[in-house]
């Protein structure tokens, strides 16, 4: 039997569609297969189409790009002694502990690296604080030239602190519409670190760089390469990490810092709570907070809870973290902010408690730029799934405040660490020539929080018998050693591998309230009738105060003409500094008989550069076992100068920098005996054959080119 050709085709198409055999044919079959098939076909073909469109573009422009690249690379690699440099940064890796563990045979890969190449102590910066040291690492200059002296800097107008590395302000212009204040434009993000990171010099010369999570790279700066910002990236609230404890318990003290308590309220068979978010952008100065509500349905029998957050539904077992959950904070008029957070089911009975991590900027849909180019954070999110973007992503405050226990904190640390390992190995794969630099924070956070178990008599661990103390730090170093081993298998002879830390670590058993000492020694005065002061010098009488401290190591004169209520005449400054130095140096802790302060350094002598005016006047170097007290850091004046540190945060490095050098491992022999972190940038530029900028303070290290030979 015959039908007209058109009809026959149609019938054939229907028949084939029924069989599902011609879903890719350009006939009417797609229609019969329905939109489902259409979606699949269109989406995948669209991907391939875009890929090949880009290929065509790349192919057509290839000759020009190749020519330009050849010219640049000839220039770039013409004098290069290496094809690739891989720098693994382990924040806070301590040379003494490393040497000890190597000697005990616990770090075979670092031992191998030491044998093949070099292991040196690495001079750190004054002060030995991560943002300061890593800024020096990347710029090759002293803090007087990069303007970072601490996490915090002080506002001379009101003696209040602000974040030293970046400033985020609302948009310049707003439009008042009834009760709404509509922002016109994006928030203004201003980087405060000065100086040029060495990867900018490399990039400009045609050497590709992948830079991952190096501290103080927020906001990300443009350069020819890819960069994911690290320490100092804020959370969605704009803070450096504000966790949330949702609880049915009433009362409870306000957290000292870093967290908020949110009530869980019963609603029928379910419990309701919320994740506090950023300020409502439309509320103007009234500061309304945006929230994302969530529901908890506990199942006591199975020891789990069913959670509903927005459209996401998931089940959480007791003592378990969720994956990263997207949250959308909705304001009026269609404004919204997107973030991600993880939930941890802390308790189900008799009370219900859920810990929520700080709300991180969503790397897949960043509301603030956290990478260069912006698509790099998106690329990583697509490739590996959502990941922590907060600068200080490991929630040390939650452990300090006993909201998380040791295991929950470690689980969080290592989950973040695994994400970064994946990023590192992807960067290694993508950067076959050039620079690949990645900094891991885990070493710093874990040592801060678990040093107490290393010491027999640490005040923060007295309740735990020595034989029950977990070997967290030993295990941490072993884990890093395994990572280094994996990297070593992926590099060739033309690759320089450096393992760098910005500082080492020491015990933090005793707190020194320097403001208390200043008060008791007549340098700082309190208002009439006061014997102590609240946070940020609340009760300080500035008209009679000559010196004060805030932050971790800085000591400031209340200088006339500089501070708002300064009283110290500029010509008296040198004498006052000398007096402070002589009195503080060698300060003894009466309880232990140990030296609490081993050095006080005049910033006029240790810094040079255009930003020295922003520096503290003196840097206080605490002794081994001591650090600025928690109160002193926050501008509080107490009656006690020395006290025990009872917090889980039990190890530190914000002490005399001479006591906490970092590490430098290299797969090549390094001739220099006393390298400094300031020398890394010039060394890398030198190895790639680039001229060194004249303003560098560091000197290129002498590196042998044949490994152990």
């Amino acid at each position: 039997m015959k039908y007209p050709t058109e009809r026959a085709t149609n019938r054939l198409a229907i028949g084939l569609a029924v069989l599902g055999l011609v879903l890719l044919c350009p006939a009417r079959s797609e229609a019969y297969a329905g939109p489902g098939a259409g979606f699949a076909v269109l989406s995948s073909f669209w991907t391939i189409f875009v890929a090949f469109l880009y290929s065509a573009y790349a192919f057509l422009t290839w000759p020009v790009r190749h020519l330009l690249r050849s010219i640049r690379r000839r220039k770039a690699y013409g004098k290069a002694q290496i094809k690739r440099a891989v720098i693994l940064g382990f924040d806070g890796m301590d040379p003494e502990l490393t040497a000890r563990f190597i000697a005990e045979g616990k770090l075979p890969n670092l031992a191998k690296l030491q044998e093949q190449g070099s292991f040196r102590k690495l001079r750190t910066t004054y002060p030995a604080i991560s943002p300061v040291a890593w800024s020096t690492f990347m710029t090759g200059v002293n803090p007087g030239k990069h303007n970072i002296y601490d996490f915090l800097a002080r506002d001379l107008k009101n003696y209040l602190p602000f974040l030293s590395s970046a400033e985020i302000r609302g948009p310049k212009r707003t439009w008042k519409l009834g009760k709404f204040t509509i922002p016109l434009g994006k928030p203004v993000i201003k980087g405060m670190r000065r100086g040029t990171p060495f990867w900018h010099w490399l990039g400009k010369s045609g050497i590709f760089c992948s830079v991952i999570r190096v501290p103080v790279t927020f906001p990300p700066e443009k350069f020819p390469g890819v960069l994911l910002s690290g320490m100092c990236v804020p959370d969605l609230k704009g803070s450096q990490g504000t966790f949330c404890l949702c609880t049915t318990r009433h009362g409870g003290e306000k957290f000292r810092e870093g967290g908020v308590r949110v009530p869980i309220t019963p609603n029928g068979t379910a419990l309701h709570s919320y994740v506090p978010g950023p300020e409502d952008p439309l509320s103007g100065s009234s500061g309304g907070e945006l929230r994302v509500n969530f529901e908890i349905r506990p199942d006591l029998g199975k020891k789990l809870a069913r959670m509903t957050v927005d459209s996401e539904k998931f089940t959480l077992k007791l003592g378990e973290y969720s994956s990263w959950i997207p949250v959308k904070f909705k304001a009026a008029l269609g404004f919204s902010a997107r973030g991600i957070c993880r939930f941890y089911l802390k308790e189900l009975s008799p009370e219900v408690e859920v810990y929520v991590t700080p709300v991180n900027i969503d790397p897949g849909r960043p509301d603030l730029p956290i990478s260069h180019p912006v698509t790099y954070s998106i690329y990583l999110a697509k490739l590996f799934g959502p990941y922590a973007t907060l600068g200080l992503a490991e929630d040390t405050w939650a452990l300090n405040e006993h909201v998380l226990d040791d295991n929950a904190f470690l689980a969080q640390c290592y989950a973040n660490h695994e994400d970064r390992e994946r990023m590192l190995f992807d960067a290694l794969d993508k950067t076959r020539q050039g620079l690949c630099a990645c900094v891991f924070d885990t070493t710093d956070r874990v040592q801060h929080m678990f040093w107490r178990y290393l010491e027999e008599d640490h005040p923060a661990a007295r309740a735990v018998p020595p034989d029950q103390r977990p070997k967290v730090i030993e295990s941490l170093y072993s884990r890093m050693d395994v990572l280094i081993g994996r990297v070593m298998t992926q590099i060739d002879k033309e690759t320089l591998l450096m393992v760098v830390s910005d500082h080492g670590f020491k015990s933090f058993a005793r707190c020194v309230n320097l403001n208390a000492w200043l008060h008791q020694n007549g340098f700082l005065a309190l208002k009439e009738g006061k014997t102590e002061s609240g946070d940020w010098f609340e009760d300080v009488d500035w008209s009679r105060t000559r010196a004060y401290t805030m932050g971790l190591n800085g000591l400031y004169l209340n200088l006339k003409g500089r501070e708002r209520e300064g009283i110290v005449q500029p010509d008296e400054a040198a004498t006052l500094k000398e007096e402070l130095r002589s009195k503080l140096h060698g300060l003894i802790d009466p309880a232990s008989g140990r030296v609490g302060i081993t050095g006080v350094f005049d910033c006029d002598a240790i810094y040079a550069g255009p930003y020295v005016d922003n520096a503290p006047d003196l840097i206080v170097g605490y002794g081994d076992g001591f650090r600025a007290s928690w109160d002193s850091v926050m501008g509080k004046v107490t009656s006690q100068i020395f006290e025990d540190n009872l917090k889980a945060w039990s190890g530190d490095h914000c002490i005399d920098p001479r006591l906490v050098p970092g590490v430098l491992f290299s797969n090549r022999k390094i001739v220099d005996e006393k390298p400094g972190i300031v020398d890394i940038a010039p060394t890398i530029l030198n190895l790639f054959g680039l001229p060194l900028p004249g303003h560098f303070d560091g000197k290129p290290l002498t590196v042998a080119m044949e490994g152990a030979q």
């Binding site: 039997m1 015959k2 039908y3 058109e6 009809r7 149609n10 019938r11 229907i14 028949g15 569609a17 029924v18 599902g20 879903l23 009417r28 797609e30 229609a31 019969y32 297969a33 329905g34 939109p35 489902g36 098939a37 259409g38 979606f39 699949a40 076909v41 269109l42 989406s43 995948s44 991907t47 391939i48 875009v50 890929a51 880009y54 290929s55 790349a58 790009r65 690249r69 590709f208 890819v226 459209s311 180019p373 698509t375 790099y376 998106i378 690329y379 990583l380 999110a381 697509k382 490739l383 799934g385 794969d429 993508k430 950067t431 076959r432 020539q433």
Partner: protein, 270 residues
Amino acid sequence: MASFNPVGLPNSFIHAFRLDLPTGLVVVLSVVVGLLMVVVFRYTSDQKAIRIAKDQLKAHLLAVRLFQDQLPVVLSSYARILRGTGPYLRLAFRPLLFVIVPLTILIIQLDHYLGWTGLPTEEPFLIKAHVNGPDGLNTADLQLPVGLKTTAPPVHIPDDNEIVWRVVATNPGKYEIHVGSSDKTFAKSVTISKALERISLARLQGQFWERMLVSTEPALSSESRIRSIEVGYPARSISFLGLEWNWIWLFFVLSLVSGFLFKSILGIEI
């Protein structure tokens, strides 16, 4: 004759968009089917796996852009895009298994209404009969009701065992013609109308699948000498956005558009 509206499409809708009934019907059906498809897709697919597969593809696309000056990276990204397309297609086609049968039945039924138009009056059309063996051609006979008439003697095509009559209708209506051979006579409907009607293109002997696609009438007896009776209805063309469409193409495009729209609104990964 009253026009038939198989989905009860509101006339107000038709008028509001200045559409004729078939076009309006296709538009509404496409939107509804697009919505249903994404909902079915949501519940029958592995949304998480699809999201991951898509994200991987997007990541490799971004890699091509981010690392464009590194040829090995670009080439390996292309390879990964091609490799990743297979698993994504596999995941995206799974929901198809759940909808293919009902959707095919729906489309076949709609094709009876939308694929063909009724015949006009005063314009000749062909009626064909296929018979078993050349002998049947001589005994085949067409009986027309009042309102239809032949305009020429039948044409015998022995090579195809086919006999063709040219017929013209004088009045609109639903007619029943009879084609007989020596043993038996069979009826076949003929629709003379401008309205939307259910059209049966042919009456067939056996051939279940083919009958399902083109016929709405009972099968011819398997012992009969007549294998099929066909009426030459013209294919329907639908005007939309200044273009003439076959309804299935229009349905395909609109249901896709509506599906993509609804998937964004409902947050469904496809």
